[in-house]
Protein backbone atom coordinates (compact mmCIF):
# COMPACT_ATOMS: atom_id res chain seq x y z
CA UNK A 1 0.00 0.00 0.00
CA UNK A 2 1.55 3.29 -0.90
CA UNK A 3 -0.91 5.94 0.10
CA UNK A 4 1.14 9.09 0.39
CA UNK A 5 1.90 9.71 3.96
CA UNK A 6 0.64 13.20 4.41
CA UNK A 7 -2.83 13.15 2.99
CA UNK A 8 -5.87 12.14 4.86
CA UNK A 9 -8.47 13.53 2.57
CA UNK A 10 -11.32 15.87 3.30
CA UNK A 11 -12.80 13.60 5.95
CA UNK A 12 -9.98 14.55 8.33
CA UNK A 13 -11.11 17.84 9.80
CA UNK A 14 -7.63 18.96 10.67
CA UNK A 15 -6.46 19.28 7.10
CA UNK A 16 -7.60 21.91 4.72
CA UNK A 17 -9.01 20.14 1.70
CA UNK A 18 -6.53 19.75 -1.11
CA UNK A 19 -7.52 20.39 -4.63
CA UNK A 20 -6.43 17.68 -6.98
CA UNK A 21 -6.50 18.32 -10.67
CA UNK A 22 -7.59 14.89 -11.69
CA UNK A 23 -10.32 14.23 -9.18
CA UNK A 24 -13.88 14.14 -10.49
CA UNK A 25 -15.65 17.02 -8.77
CA UNK A 26 -18.70 15.19 -7.52
CA UNK A 27 -17.24 12.18 -5.74
CA UNK A 28 -19.22 11.22 -2.68
CA UNK A 29 -16.90 10.29 0.16
CA UNK A 30 -18.12 7.12 1.77
CA UNK A 31 -17.90 7.25 5.48
CA UNK A 32 -16.06 4.28 6.90
CA UNK A 33 -18.07 4.45 10.05
CA UNK A 34 -21.79 4.45 10.21
CA UNK A 35 -24.07 5.45 13.05
CA UNK A 36 -24.17 1.87 14.29
CA UNK A 37 -20.44 1.82 14.94
CA UNK A 38 -20.58 5.19 16.60
CA UNK A 39 -23.42 3.99 18.76
CA UNK A 40 -21.65 0.81 19.77
CA UNK A 41 -18.47 2.63 20.71
CA UNK A 42 -20.39 5.23 22.67
CA UNK A 43 -22.28 2.54 24.53
CA UNK A 44 -19.12 0.59 25.27
CA UNK A 45 -17.23 3.59 26.59
CA UNK A 46 -20.22 4.72 28.58
CA UNK A 47 -20.72 1.44 30.33
CA UNK A 48 -17.11 0.62 31.01
CA UNK A 49 -15.61 4.05 31.63
CA UNK A 50 -18.28 6.66 32.15
CA UNK A 51 -20.49 4.74 34.51
CA UNK A 52 -17.93 4.00 37.24
CA UNK A 53 -16.43 7.47 36.94
CA UNK A 54 -19.89 9.00 37.22
CA UNK A 55 -20.36 7.03 40.42
CA UNK A 56 -17.19 8.63 41.78
CA UNK A 57 -18.43 12.10 40.88
CA UNK A 58 -21.76 11.44 42.54
CA UNK A 59 -20.00 10.14 45.64
CA UNK A 60 -17.81 13.20 45.81
CA UNK A 61 -20.90 15.38 45.97
CA UNK A 62 -22.55 13.25 48.65
CA UNK A 63 -21.82 15.83 51.28
CA UNK A 64 -22.79 18.78 49.19
CA UNK A 65 -20.62 21.38 47.54
CA UNK A 66 -19.23 22.65 50.84
CA UNK A 67 -17.71 19.35 51.73
CA UNK A 68 -16.43 18.98 48.19
CA UNK A 69 -14.71 22.32 48.39
CA UNK A 70 -13.25 21.62 51.83
CA UNK A 71 -11.87 18.34 50.60
CA UNK A 72 -10.11 19.77 47.60
CA UNK A 73 -8.82 22.92 49.24
CA UNK A 74 -7.16 20.94 51.99
CA UNK A 75 -3.51 21.98 51.97
CA UNK A 76 -2.18 18.46 51.79
CA UNK A 77 -4.49 17.67 48.92
CA UNK A 78 -3.40 20.72 46.98
CA UNK A 79 0.27 20.01 47.59
CA UNK A 80 -0.17 16.43 46.48
CA UNK A 81 -2.05 17.48 43.35
CA UNK A 82 0.53 20.05 42.40
CA UNK A 83 3.44 17.68 42.90
CA UNK A 84 1.69 14.89 41.01
CA UNK A 85 0.92 17.06 38.00
CA UNK A 86 4.35 18.63 37.77
CA UNK A 87 6.32 15.43 38.14
CA UNK A 88 4.04 13.63 35.68
CA UNK A 89 4.50 16.33 33.06
CA UNK A 90 8.25 16.33 33.45
CA UNK A 91 8.44 12.55 33.21
CA UNK A 92 6.16 12.54 30.17
CA UNK A 93 8.36 15.03 28.35
CA UNK A 94 11.52 13.08 29.10
CA UNK A 95 10.00 9.82 27.97
CA UNK A 96 8.58 11.48 24.86
CA UNK A 97 12.04 12.41 23.65
CA UNK A 98 13.54 9.12 24.77
CA UNK A 99 10.58 7.26 23.29
CA UNK A 100 11.06 8.65 19.81
CA UNK A 101 14.76 7.96 19.99
CA UNK A 102 14.25 4.37 21.10
CA UNK A 103 11.49 3.73 18.59
CA UNK A 104 13.73 5.05 15.82
CA UNK A 105 16.57 2.81 16.81
CA UNK A 106 14.29 -0.20 17.10
CA UNK A 107 12.65 0.32 13.72
CA UNK A 108 15.41 1.72 11.53
CA UNK A 109 18.51 0.26 13.01
CA UNK A 110 19.86 -3.25 13.05
CA UNK A 111 22.03 -4.77 15.72
CA UNK A 112 22.40 -8.10 17.44
CA UNK A 113 20.02 -8.50 20.30
CA UNK A 114 17.50 -6.05 18.92
CA UNK A 115 14.67 -8.52 19.37
CA UNK A 116 15.61 -8.92 22.99
CA UNK A 117 15.69 -5.18 23.58
CA UNK A 118 12.34 -4.83 21.87
CA UNK A 119 10.85 -7.42 24.16
CA UNK A 120 12.14 -5.70 27.25
CA UNK A 121 10.25 -2.50 26.65
CA UNK A 122 6.92 -3.77 27.95
CA UNK A 123 8.22 -5.34 31.09
CA UNK A 124 7.79 -2.30 33.38
CA UNK A 125 4.14 -2.72 33.46
CA UNK A 126 3.84 -6.44 33.43
CA UNK A 127 5.68 -6.25 36.71
CA UNK A 128 3.56 -6.04 39.84
CA UNK A 129 4.05 -2.64 41.36
CA UNK A 130 5.30 -3.97 44.67
CA UNK A 131 8.15 -5.79 42.93
CA UNK A 132 8.98 -2.67 40.96
CA UNK A 133 8.92 -0.77 44.23
CA UNK A 134 11.24 -3.13 46.07
CA UNK A 135 13.64 -3.21 43.14
CA UNK A 136 13.75 0.56 42.80
CA UNK A 137 14.36 0.82 46.51
CA UNK A 138 17.23 -1.62 46.23
CA UNK A 139 18.73 0.26 43.30
CA UNK A 140 18.27 3.87 44.24
CA UNK A 141 18.06 3.68 48.00
CA UNK A 142 20.34 3.46 50.96
CA UNK A 143 22.17 0.29 50.07
CA UNK A 144 22.31 1.09 46.39
CA UNK A 145 24.79 -1.01 44.41
CA UNK A 146 25.26 1.83 41.98
CA UNK A 147 25.84 4.35 44.69
CA UNK A 148 22.80 6.47 44.01
CA UNK A 149 20.76 7.26 47.07
CA UNK A 150 17.75 9.32 46.23
CA UNK A 151 15.34 7.59 48.55
CA UNK A 152 12.58 9.79 49.87
CA UNK A 153 13.21 12.58 47.40
CA UNK A 154 11.17 13.90 44.54
CA UNK A 155 13.84 12.57 42.21
CA UNK A 156 13.00 9.10 43.40
CA UNK A 157 9.39 9.57 42.45
CA UNK A 158 10.45 10.81 39.03
CA UNK A 159 12.73 7.80 38.55
CA UNK A 160 9.97 5.41 39.48
CA UNK A 161 7.59 7.11 37.07
CA UNK A 162 10.15 7.11 34.25
CA UNK A 163 10.48 3.38 34.70
CA UNK A 164 6.74 2.82 34.66
CA UNK A 165 5.86 5.07 31.70
CA UNK A 166 8.77 4.12 29.48
CA UNK A 167 6.85 1.89 27.05
CA UNK A 168 4.14 4.30 26.06
CA UNK A 169 5.69 6.64 23.55
CA UNK A 170 7.98 3.93 22.20
CA UNK A 171 5.10 1.60 21.44
CA UNK A 172 2.95 4.39 20.04
CA UNK A 173 5.58 5.56 17.62
CA UNK A 174 6.81 2.16 16.48
CA UNK A 175 3.79 1.10 14.40
CA UNK A 176 3.61 4.48 12.72
CA UNK A 177 7.30 4.52 11.96
CA UNK A 178 6.92 1.12 10.38
CA UNK A 179 4.11 2.33 8.14
CA UNK A 180 5.65 5.64 7.20
CA UNK A 181 6.17 5.98 3.47
CA UNK A 182 9.78 6.49 2.58
CA UNK A 183 9.15 8.10 -0.79
CA UNK A 184 9.42 11.61 0.54
CA UNK A 185 12.55 10.86 2.54
CA UNK A 186 14.25 9.49 -0.53
CA UNK A 187 13.10 12.43 -2.61
CA UNK A 188 14.38 14.91 -0.06
CA UNK A 189 17.68 13.07 0.24
CA UNK A 190 18.17 13.09 -3.49
CA UNK A 191 17.53 16.82 -3.44
CA UNK A 192 20.38 17.22 -1.00
CA UNK A 193 18.63 17.60 2.35
CA UNK A 194 20.63 16.52 5.37
CA UNK A 195 19.59 13.76 7.74
CA UNK A 196 18.43 15.90 10.61
CA UNK A 197 16.49 18.14 8.23
CA UNK A 198 14.73 15.21 6.67
CA UNK A 199 13.89 13.90 10.08
CA UNK A 200 12.61 17.20 11.35
CA UNK A 201 10.68 18.27 8.27
CA UNK A 202 9.39 15.04 6.86
CA UNK A 203 9.36 12.21 9.31
CA UNK A 204 8.63 13.97 12.59
CA UNK A 205 5.38 15.63 11.49
CA UNK A 206 4.02 12.20 10.66
CA UNK A 207 4.97 10.96 14.08
CA UNK A 208 3.33 13.78 15.95
CA UNK A 209 -0.08 12.16 16.44
CA UNK A 210 1.59 9.01 17.68
CA UNK A 211 3.91 10.87 20.00
CA UNK A 212 1.02 12.80 21.44
CA UNK A 213 -1.00 9.66 21.81
CA UNK A 214 1.82 8.06 23.74
CA UNK A 215 2.33 11.19 25.82
CA UNK A 216 -1.32 11.21 26.74
CA UNK A 217 -1.16 7.63 27.90
CA UNK A 218 2.10 8.20 29.76
CA UNK A 219 0.80 11.29 31.52
CA UNK A 220 -2.44 9.61 32.52
CA UNK A 221 -0.56 6.63 33.86
CA UNK A 222 1.91 8.78 35.75
CA UNK A 223 -0.74 10.73 37.62
CA UNK A 224 -2.50 7.56 38.68
CA UNK A 225 0.54 5.52 39.64
CA UNK A 226 0.59 4.20 43.15
CA UNK A 227 2.36 0.98 44.01
CA UNK A 228 5.80 1.42 42.54
CA UNK A 229 6.29 4.86 44.02
CA UNK A 230 5.41 4.10 47.56
CA UNK A 231 8.47 2.47 49.01
CA UNK A 232 11.03 4.80 47.56
CA UNK A 233 9.16 8.05 47.94
CA UNK A 234 8.47 7.84 51.63
CA UNK A 235 5.10 9.54 51.15
CA UNK A 236 6.23 12.69 52.87
CA UNK A 237 3.22 15.00 52.98
CA UNK A 238 3.81 18.28 51.19
CA UNK A 239 6.95 16.87 49.68
CA UNK A 240 6.84 13.50 47.96
CA UNK A 241 3.27 12.51 48.52
CA UNK A 242 1.37 11.91 45.32
CA UNK A 243 -2.35 12.28 44.88
CA UNK A 244 -3.05 8.58 44.67
CA UNK A 245 -1.47 8.04 48.08
CA UNK A 246 -3.35 10.99 49.54
CA UNK A 247 -6.57 9.49 48.21
CA UNK A 248 -5.65 6.16 49.76
CA UNK A 249 -5.07 7.91 53.07
CA UNK A 250 -8.48 9.48 52.98
CA UNK A 251 -10.15 6.16 52.29
CA UNK A 252 -8.25 4.48 55.07
CA UNK A 253 -9.26 7.28 57.43
CA UNK A 254 -12.91 6.72 56.55
CA UNK A 255 -13.27 9.89 54.53
CA UNK A 256 -14.45 8.43 51.22
CA UNK A 257 -16.14 11.62 50.10
CA UNK A 258 -12.90 13.52 50.41
CA UNK A 259 -11.12 10.78 48.48
CA UNK A 260 -13.72 10.90 45.74
CA UNK A 261 -13.54 14.70 45.57
CA UNK A 262 -9.78 14.81 45.14
CA UNK A 263 -9.97 12.05 42.54
CA UNK A 264 -12.56 14.01 40.60
CA UNK A 265 -10.31 17.05 40.58
CA UNK A 266 -7.34 15.00 39.39
CA UNK A 267 -9.50 13.47 36.70
CA UNK A 268 -10.70 16.85 35.56
CA UNK A 269 -7.23 18.31 35.42
CA UNK A 270 -5.97 15.27 33.54
CA UNK A 271 -8.80 15.72 31.04
CA UNK A 272 -7.77 19.30 30.50
CA UNK A 273 -4.10 18.42 30.08
CA UNK A 274 -4.93 15.61 27.65
CA UNK A 275 -7.20 17.92 25.72
CA UNK A 276 -4.41 20.49 25.50
CA UNK A 277 -1.91 17.90 24.35
CA UNK A 278 -4.24 16.76 21.58
CA UNK A 279 -5.13 20.29 20.55
CA UNK A 280 -1.48 21.18 20.44
CA UNK A 281 -1.00 18.33 18.02
CA UNK A 282 -3.83 19.45 15.80
CA UNK A 283 -2.60 23.02 15.78
CA UNK A 284 0.93 21.88 15.05
CA UNK A 285 -0.17 19.56 12.29
CA UNK A 286 -2.27 22.23 10.66
CA UNK A 287 0.55 24.69 10.57
CA UNK A 288 3.08 22.22 9.30
CA UNK A 289 1.08 21.59 6.19
Amino acid sequence: MSAPAATSGPTDPTVRPRRRAKRAPAVRRVSAVGPLSIGIVTLWLSIIVLLPLAAVVVKSLDGGLDQFWDAISNRQAVAALRFTLIVSLVVTLINAVAGVLIAWVLVRDQFPGKRFVNALIDLPFALPTIVAGITLLALYGKDSPVGIDVSFTQTAVALALLFVTLPFVVRSVQPVLIEVDKDMEEAAASLGASGPTIFRRIILPNLVPAILSGCGLAFARAVGEFGSIILISGNIPFDTQVTSVYVFKQIESDAPISAAAVSVVLLFISLVVLFLIRSLGRWGARHER
Partner: protein, 347 residues
Protein backbone atom coordinates in the same frame (compact mmCIF):
# COMPACT_ATOMS: atom_id res chain seq x y z
CA UNK B 1 5.29 -17.95 8.90
CA UNK B 2 8.70 -19.51 8.77
CA UNK B 3 8.99 -22.96 10.25
CA UNK B 4 11.73 -21.94 12.65
CA UNK B 5 9.58 -19.17 14.05
CA UNK B 6 6.56 -21.35 14.24
CA UNK B 7 8.50 -23.83 16.30
CA UNK B 8 9.78 -21.22 18.71
CA UNK B 9 6.29 -19.81 19.10
CA UNK B 10 4.87 -23.19 19.91
CA UNK B 11 7.72 -23.87 22.30
CA UNK B 12 7.12 -20.66 24.17
CA UNK B 13 3.41 -21.23 24.39
CA UNK B 14 4.15 -24.68 25.67
CA UNK B 15 6.28 -23.29 28.45
CA UNK B 16 3.54 -20.95 29.54
CA UNK B 17 0.93 -23.66 29.44
CA UNK B 18 3.17 -26.00 31.35
CA UNK B 19 3.39 -23.53 34.15
CA UNK B 20 -0.31 -23.38 34.48
CA UNK B 21 -1.14 -26.98 34.06
CA UNK B 22 1.74 -28.38 36.04
CA UNK B 23 0.62 -30.89 38.58
CA UNK B 24 3.70 -30.86 40.73
CA UNK B 25 2.80 -30.16 44.33
CA UNK B 26 5.93 -28.36 45.35
CA UNK B 27 6.56 -26.75 48.72
CA UNK B 28 3.79 -24.61 49.99
CA UNK B 29 4.41 -21.31 51.56
CA UNK B 30 0.74 -20.67 51.07
CA UNK B 31 -0.58 -24.05 52.02
CA UNK B 32 -4.22 -23.15 52.28
CA UNK B 33 -3.89 -22.19 48.65
CA UNK B 34 -6.81 -23.84 47.02
CA UNK B 35 -10.19 -23.33 48.51
CA UNK B 36 -11.43 -26.65 49.70
CA UNK B 37 -15.11 -26.00 49.61
CA UNK B 38 -16.10 -29.22 47.98
CA UNK B 39 -19.74 -28.30 47.70
CA UNK B 40 -21.39 -31.42 48.91
CA UNK B 41 -21.97 -32.07 52.61
CA UNK B 42 -20.49 -29.99 55.38
CA UNK B 43 -20.71 -26.40 56.36
CA UNK B 44 -18.87 -23.73 54.40
CA UNK B 45 -17.12 -21.18 56.52
CA UNK B 46 -15.27 -18.15 55.35
CA UNK B 47 -12.68 -16.42 57.41
CA UNK B 48 -11.81 -12.83 56.57
CA UNK B 49 -8.69 -11.78 58.43
CA UNK B 50 -5.85 -9.32 58.34
CA UNK B 51 -2.65 -10.45 56.72
CA UNK B 52 -0.11 -11.18 59.43
CA UNK B 53 -1.84 -14.09 61.22
CA UNK B 54 -2.16 -16.05 58.01
CA UNK B 55 0.69 -18.21 59.24
CA UNK B 56 -1.29 -18.92 62.38
CA UNK B 57 -4.61 -19.70 60.74
CA UNK B 58 -2.88 -21.89 58.17
CA UNK B 59 -2.23 -24.21 61.11
CA UNK B 60 -5.31 -23.55 63.19
CA UNK B 61 -7.84 -24.24 60.44
CA UNK B 62 -6.62 -27.75 59.61
CA UNK B 63 -6.40 -28.50 63.32
CA UNK B 64 -9.96 -27.31 63.82
CA UNK B 65 -11.18 -29.55 61.04
CA UNK B 66 -9.74 -32.52 62.91
CA UNK B 67 -11.87 -31.82 65.98
CA UNK B 68 -15.43 -33.08 66.34
CA UNK B 69 -16.78 -29.56 66.34
CA UNK B 70 -14.91 -28.78 63.18
CA UNK B 71 -15.35 -32.02 61.31
CA UNK B 72 -17.31 -31.55 58.15
CA UNK B 73 -16.47 -27.92 57.58
CA UNK B 74 -15.00 -26.40 54.47
CA UNK B 75 -13.00 -23.23 54.71
CA UNK B 76 -12.45 -20.27 52.47
CA UNK B 77 -10.02 -17.71 53.77
CA UNK B 78 -9.14 -14.21 52.78
CA UNK B 79 -6.19 -12.16 54.04
CA UNK B 80 -5.43 -8.53 53.45
CA UNK B 81 -4.80 -5.25 55.22
CA UNK B 82 -7.08 -4.95 58.24
CA UNK B 83 -8.88 -1.78 57.21
CA UNK B 84 -9.36 -2.94 53.64
CA UNK B 85 -10.73 -6.29 54.76
CA UNK B 86 -13.14 -4.62 57.15
CA UNK B 87 -14.36 -2.29 54.43
CA UNK B 88 -14.72 -5.23 52.06
CA UNK B 89 -16.97 -7.07 54.48
CA UNK B 90 -18.93 -3.87 54.91
CA UNK B 91 -19.30 -3.72 51.13
CA UNK B 92 -20.59 -7.25 50.95
CA UNK B 93 -17.67 -9.68 51.08
CA UNK B 94 -19.21 -12.74 52.65
CA UNK B 95 -17.69 -13.74 55.95
CA UNK B 96 -18.59 -16.03 58.82
CA UNK B 97 -15.67 -15.15 61.05
CA UNK B 98 -13.71 -11.91 61.00
CA UNK B 99 -10.37 -11.31 62.64
CA UNK B 100 -8.78 -7.87 62.46
CA UNK B 101 -5.81 -6.11 63.96
CA UNK B 102 -7.69 -3.48 65.91
CA UNK B 103 -11.13 -3.00 67.38
CA UNK B 104 -12.40 -0.11 65.23
CA UNK B 105 -12.36 -2.45 62.24
CA UNK B 106 -14.97 -4.58 64.01
CA UNK B 107 -16.89 -1.54 65.28
CA UNK B 108 -17.30 -0.48 61.66
CA UNK B 109 -19.08 -3.76 60.99
CA UNK B 110 -21.24 -3.38 64.08
CA UNK B 111 -22.37 -0.04 62.72
CA UNK B 112 -23.05 -1.68 59.37
CA UNK B 113 -25.11 -4.33 61.17
CA UNK B 114 -22.88 -7.15 60.05
CA UNK B 115 -21.61 -8.01 63.50
CA UNK B 116 -23.68 -8.25 66.67
CA UNK B 117 -23.41 -5.45 69.19
CA UNK B 118 -22.55 -7.87 71.94
CA UNK B 119 -19.68 -9.42 70.02
CA UNK B 120 -17.23 -8.66 72.79
CA UNK B 121 -19.36 -9.74 75.72
CA UNK B 122 -17.29 -12.74 76.64
CA UNK B 123 -14.46 -13.58 78.95
CA UNK B 124 -11.88 -12.51 76.38
CA UNK B 125 -13.64 -9.25 75.56
CA UNK B 126 -13.57 -10.37 71.93
CA UNK B 127 -9.81 -10.51 71.59
CA UNK B 128 -7.98 -13.55 70.31
CA UNK B 129 -4.39 -12.39 70.64
CA UNK B 130 -2.34 -9.62 72.15
CA UNK B 131 0.96 -8.00 71.47
CA UNK B 132 3.10 -5.04 72.42
CA UNK B 133 4.41 -2.03 70.60
CA UNK B 134 8.14 -2.68 70.38
CA UNK B 135 11.33 -1.46 68.77
CA UNK B 136 13.12 -3.24 65.97
CA UNK B 137 16.79 -2.33 65.74
CA UNK B 138 19.82 -3.54 63.83
CA UNK B 139 21.52 -6.60 65.15
CA UNK B 140 23.68 -5.70 68.10
CA UNK B 141 21.67 -2.54 68.78
CA UNK B 142 24.49 -0.23 67.70
CA UNK B 143 22.70 2.92 68.78
CA UNK B 144 21.76 1.39 72.11
CA UNK B 145 18.09 2.12 71.97
CA UNK B 146 16.13 0.92 74.94
CA UNK B 147 13.45 3.44 75.84
CA UNK B 148 11.10 5.84 74.15
CA UNK B 149 13.30 8.72 75.28
CA UNK B 150 16.19 7.15 73.40
CA UNK B 151 14.23 7.75 70.23
CA UNK B 152 14.54 11.45 70.81
CA UNK B 153 18.32 11.41 71.03
CA UNK B 154 19.87 13.63 68.40
CA UNK B 155 20.40 11.94 65.07
CA UNK B 156 18.22 8.93 65.74
CA UNK B 157 16.03 8.14 62.75
CA UNK B 158 12.77 6.40 63.42
CA UNK B 159 10.62 4.53 60.93
CA UNK B 160 6.94 4.03 61.55
CA UNK B 161 4.07 3.62 59.10
CA UNK B 162 1.70 6.47 58.54
CA UNK B 163 -1.21 6.16 60.97
CA UNK B 164 -3.60 7.49 58.36
CA UNK B 165 -2.78 4.95 55.68
CA UNK B 166 -2.49 2.08 58.08
CA UNK B 167 -4.96 2.00 60.93
CA UNK B 168 -2.85 -0.54 62.69
CA UNK B 169 0.04 1.91 62.76
CA UNK B 170 -1.86 3.99 65.27
CA UNK B 171 -0.75 1.51 67.91
CA UNK B 172 2.86 2.57 67.36
CA UNK B 173 2.27 6.21 68.07
CA UNK B 174 0.02 5.38 71.00
CA UNK B 175 2.93 3.46 72.48
CA UNK B 176 5.02 6.59 72.58
CA UNK B 177 2.08 8.65 73.71
CA UNK B 178 1.41 6.60 76.80
CA UNK B 179 5.09 6.27 77.57
CA UNK B 180 5.28 10.05 77.80
CA UNK B 181 2.36 10.11 80.21
CA UNK B 182 -0.39 10.80 77.73
CA UNK B 183 -2.88 8.69 79.63
CA UNK B 184 -2.97 11.28 82.39
CA UNK B 185 -1.64 14.37 80.70
CA UNK B 186 -2.62 14.71 77.08
CA UNK B 187 -0.33 17.67 76.59
CA UNK B 188 2.73 15.71 77.62
CA UNK B 189 1.84 12.85 75.34
CA UNK B 190 1.27 15.15 72.39
CA UNK B 191 4.49 17.04 73.07
CA UNK B 192 6.36 13.76 72.79
CA UNK B 193 4.63 12.82 69.56
CA UNK B 194 5.33 16.27 68.19
CA UNK B 195 9.04 15.98 68.79
CA UNK B 196 9.14 12.40 67.54
CA UNK B 197 7.27 13.12 64.33
CA UNK B 198 8.90 16.44 63.61
CA UNK B 199 12.51 15.60 64.21
CA UNK B 200 12.97 11.87 64.08
CA UNK B 201 10.42 10.42 61.73
CA UNK B 202 11.29 11.55 58.23
CA UNK B 203 9.34 9.01 56.35
CA UNK B 204 6.10 7.17 56.98
CA UNK B 205 5.47 4.15 54.82
CA UNK B 206 2.08 2.98 53.78
CA UNK B 207 2.01 -0.13 55.97
CA UNK B 208 3.93 -1.98 58.62
CA UNK B 209 5.32 -4.53 56.24
CA UNK B 210 6.61 -1.83 53.93
CA UNK B 211 8.16 0.03 56.83
CA UNK B 212 9.98 -3.14 57.77
CA UNK B 213 11.15 -3.56 54.18
CA UNK B 214 12.45 -0.03 54.21
CA UNK B 215 14.23 -0.65 57.50
CA UNK B 216 15.81 -3.84 56.24
CA UNK B 217 16.99 -1.98 53.15
CA UNK B 218 19.18 0.14 55.34
CA UNK B 219 17.06 3.14 56.21
CA UNK B 220 16.59 4.36 59.76
CA UNK B 221 17.99 3.32 63.10
CA UNK B 222 14.87 1.98 64.73
CA UNK B 223 11.50 0.76 63.50
CA UNK B 224 8.36 0.94 65.58
CA UNK B 225 6.52 -2.32 65.20
CA UNK B 226 4.66 -5.04 67.03
CA UNK B 227 6.32 -7.81 68.94
CA UNK B 228 4.72 -10.51 66.80
CA UNK B 229 5.75 -8.85 63.52
CA UNK B 230 9.36 -8.96 64.54
CA UNK B 231 9.14 -12.52 65.85
CA UNK B 232 7.35 -13.77 62.74
CA UNK B 233 9.85 -11.99 60.51
CA UNK B 234 12.76 -13.58 62.31
CA UNK B 235 11.10 -16.95 62.19
CA UNK B 236 10.70 -16.52 58.44
CA UNK B 237 14.36 -15.88 57.94
CA UNK B 238 14.76 -12.14 58.33
CA UNK B 239 18.23 -11.74 59.79
CA UNK B 240 19.99 -8.62 60.93
CA UNK B 241 17.18 -7.38 63.11
CA UNK B 242 16.69 -7.50 66.81
CA UNK B 243 13.70 -6.94 69.03
CA UNK B 244 13.94 -4.48 71.91
CA UNK B 245 11.05 -4.17 74.34
CA UNK B 246 10.58 -0.80 76.01
CA UNK B 247 9.26 -1.06 79.52
CA UNK B 248 6.49 1.44 78.95
CA UNK B 249 4.18 0.60 76.13
CA UNK B 250 0.64 -0.10 75.07
CA UNK B 251 -1.08 -3.46 74.78
CA UNK B 252 -2.14 -4.32 71.25
CA UNK B 253 -5.35 -6.32 71.20
CA UNK B 254 -6.59 -8.14 68.10
CA UNK B 255 -10.32 -8.85 67.92
CA UNK B 256 -12.18 -11.82 66.48
CA UNK B 257 -15.93 -12.09 65.92
CA UNK B 258 -18.64 -14.02 64.14
CA UNK B 259 -20.92 -12.22 61.75
CA UNK B 260 -24.65 -11.76 61.71
CA UNK B 261 -24.69 -12.63 58.02
CA UNK B 262 -23.17 -16.04 58.58
CA UNK B 263 -25.10 -18.96 57.17
CA UNK B 264 -23.56 -21.32 59.69
CA UNK B 265 -23.53 -19.34 62.92
CA UNK B 266 -23.05 -22.39 65.12
CA UNK B 267 -20.04 -23.63 63.22
CA UNK B 268 -18.68 -20.10 63.12
CA UNK B 269 -19.03 -19.84 66.88
CA UNK B 270 -17.37 -23.23 67.22
CA UNK B 271 -14.39 -21.97 65.25
CA UNK B 272 -14.03 -18.86 67.37
CA UNK B 273 -14.27 -21.00 70.50
CA UNK B 274 -11.56 -23.19 69.08
CA UNK B 275 -9.39 -20.17 68.43
CA UNK B 276 -9.58 -19.45 72.15
CA UNK B 277 -8.82 -23.01 73.12
CA UNK B 278 -5.44 -24.27 74.26
CA UNK B 279 -4.21 -25.92 71.03
CA UNK B 280 -5.00 -22.88 68.90
CA UNK B 281 -3.54 -20.46 71.41
CA UNK B 282 -0.38 -22.55 71.41
CA UNK B 283 -0.07 -21.92 67.68
CA UNK B 284 -0.51 -18.21 68.27
CA UNK B 285 2.22 -18.30 70.88
CA UNK B 286 4.60 -20.13 68.58
CA UNK B 287 4.43 -17.28 66.10
CA UNK B 288 4.96 -14.56 68.67
CA UNK B 289 1.38 -13.61 69.47
CA UNK B 290 0.62 -13.25 73.17
CA UNK B 291 -2.15 -15.73 74.00
CA UNK B 292 -5.29 -14.43 75.67
CA UNK B 293 -5.82 -17.86 77.17
CA UNK B 294 -4.25 -17.38 80.61
CA UNK B 295 -3.17 -20.99 80.95
CA UNK B 296 -1.24 -20.93 77.71
CA UNK B 297 0.20 -17.54 78.51
CA UNK B 298 1.51 -18.74 81.83
CA UNK B 299 3.25 -21.63 80.14
CA UNK B 300 5.06 -19.23 77.83
CA UNK B 301 5.80 -16.60 80.47
CA UNK B 302 9.47 -16.68 79.66
CA UNK B 303 8.90 -15.78 76.03
CA UNK B 304 6.55 -12.95 76.82
CA UNK B 305 7.96 -10.75 79.58
CA UNK B 306 5.46 -8.22 80.83
CA UNK B 307 6.65 -4.62 80.72
CA UNK B 308 6.58 -2.73 83.98
CA UNK B 309 4.32 -0.02 82.68
CA UNK B 310 1.67 -1.49 80.45
CA UNK B 311 -1.28 0.56 79.25
CA UNK B 312 -4.35 -0.41 77.27
CA UNK B 313 -6.60 1.55 74.97
CA UNK B 314 -9.12 1.72 77.80
CA UNK B 315 -6.67 3.85 79.79
CA UNK B 316 -7.01 6.38 77.02
CA UNK B 317 -10.76 6.32 76.99
CA UNK B 318 -11.33 3.81 74.24
CA UNK B 319 -10.91 3.92 70.50
CA UNK B 320 -13.65 6.37 69.60
CA UNK B 321 -12.17 8.99 71.88
CA UNK B 322 -8.65 8.34 70.63
CA UNK B 323 -9.72 8.37 66.99
CA UNK B 324 -11.59 11.59 67.39
CA UNK B 325 -9.04 13.49 69.40
CA UNK B 326 -5.82 12.25 67.95
CA UNK B 327 -6.41 10.64 64.61
CA UNK B 328 -9.21 12.54 62.99
CA UNK B 329 -7.74 13.46 59.59
CA UNK B 330 -9.10 16.99 59.82
CA UNK B 331 -9.18 17.93 63.46
CA UNK B 332 -7.04 15.36 65.20
CA UNK B 333 -3.92 16.34 67.08
CA UNK B 334 -1.65 14.03 65.09
CA UNK B 335 -3.02 15.42 61.83
CA UNK B 336 -2.23 18.89 63.12
CA UNK B 337 1.34 17.87 63.84
CA UNK B 338 1.65 16.40 60.37
CA UNK B 339 0.34 19.58 58.82
CA UNK B 340 2.60 21.74 60.91
CA UNK B 341 5.64 19.76 59.83
CA UNK B 342 4.56 20.04 56.28
CA UNK B 343 4.90 23.77 56.35
CA UNK B 344 8.67 23.52 56.20
CA UNK B 345 8.60 21.03 53.34
CA UNK B 346 5.69 22.59 51.54
CA UNK B 347 6.76 24.23 48.33
Amino acid sequence: MKLRNRISFVALTGVVLALGVSACGGSSDDSSGSSDSSGGGGANLSLVAYSTPQVVYDEVIPAFKKTTAGADTNFKSSYGASGEQSRAVEAGLSADVVAFSLEPDVTRLVKAKKVAEDWNQNQYKGFVSNSLVSFVVRKGNPKNIKTWDDLLKPGVQVLTPNPFTSGAAKWNLLGGYVAAGGAKDQKAGLAYLDELLSKHVKVQDKSGREALQNFVSGNGDVLLSYEYEAITAQKKGEKGIELVQPQQTILIQNPIATTLTSKNPDKAKAFVDYAWSKPAQEVFASWGYRPVNQEVFDEHKADFPIPTDLYTIDDLGGWSKVNDELFDPEKGAVAAIENKNGVSTEK
